[in-house]
Subunit: 226 residues, 2 copies
Amino acid sequence: MMNMNSISGKPPDRSEDLTARARIRDAAVDCFGQRGFDVPVREIAERAGVSPALVMHHFGTKAKLRVACEEHVMRIIREVKTESITTKDQTTVLHHLAEAEEFAPYMAFLFRCLQAGGDLARTLYEHMAADIEAYLDAGVKAGTVRPSRNPEARARWLAATGGGSLLMLVTLRHPGPDVDFRRVIREWSEEFTLPALELYTEGLLADRSMLDAYLLYVSDPPEDSS
Amino acid sequence: MMNMNSISGKPPDRSEDLTARARIRDAAVDCFGQRGFDVPVREIAERAGVSPALVMHHFGTKAKLRVACEEHVMRIIREVKTESITTKDQTTVLHHLAEAEEFAPYMAFLFRCLQAGGDLARTLYEHMAADIEAYLDAGVKAGTVRPSRNPEARARWLAATGGGSLLMLVTLRHPGPDVDFRRVIREWSEEFTLPALELYTEGLLADRSMLDAYLLYVSDPPEDSS
DNA sequence: GTCTATATAATGATAGAC
DNA sequence: GTCTATCATTATATAGAC
């Protein structure tokens, strides 16, 4: 559970012999991830070792630069996912990514997307939910996971609570611009693994009355006042 | 569970016969809540019906204006909470607040604080966790809630997942500046009540192996490599 | 392709009249 | 207390030389 740096494939090329365009894009991914999307173009240019004007020359606007970063990161994630497709455990791929040193910038970037909203955030959320659903479905078939009345809703809830609680920890504990993403993941694990596992295993409510009342309520709604 | 607009006390005075200072502060609460803390001072002034210079005259800087808003909102929340102290059900006070029309601006503001981080966000989070812990503790004593190995951690997890999932929905579904907070709450309920209740009642994992393995792991850690 | 220099726009904040 | 007018800063984006 703790030392599975088993992501084999090529760590994305970050060597110095890249085109300026690629260097700018990589610098932008780093800056956006560390400091959020409010980071000035000047800083991205500085990190890439070029002038601010060259950034605009290659990408037109800051918004387009961001889109290019999103596409690039998504492509990498997709590659890693399809590459580890043989691994049964799709769900924890993101977790492994978070622990692997060389993918830290991409994880930070994805996190900023989740924080800022937008198309990529929605896509990411859907992917997380779909992965969780498939994973749980396999568990149900294997008998290790309880079946659900609505597996899709359950997966979405798990994605929202998992990602959301992480989002919460970051905004609470890292008010400054720079986020040590791996540290947050560690804090999250230390603080929440016990209660989560406990609740996932034993539940929270001692009796079924609330659930039954809700099921009765939705099966026979009083009146629709929308 | 669905029509408890039972918050009796005075809806905060929003009439037109307020000092300009109070009108500016109220306008700021509205703007910050709807549009986030990036809203220009000019817009706050416009909504308050005064010049931007008057805003600075009364509050010095935008940051101080924000602090004044935070203090004002916290004072109102505190009043409502102490007022409904006789109600056993402290946890759902915030939920009722969210549904009550006249408190919507304050809830939106609090949400923006949670989204932006800072001192108030931490305070809010601690309050949520403390309320939940007290509520669950009463449930444990009454026999309706299962006991936990670490009630405080459980309460914090519930606060983080609850607030975090809401945060997630907002950033995903409301990319624009304006947020219809009550609508998000409604979506959240419709989408997540079933899976949450199901999981809280029946659990997720069919057997105890993961929990037991974790408990064994923490009781006898392999080696500390920090 | 890459740079320096500059235009343009937005925003927080100030000066000073009334 | 309240306003108009303005400043200073910062950001994105452009123009044009090399």
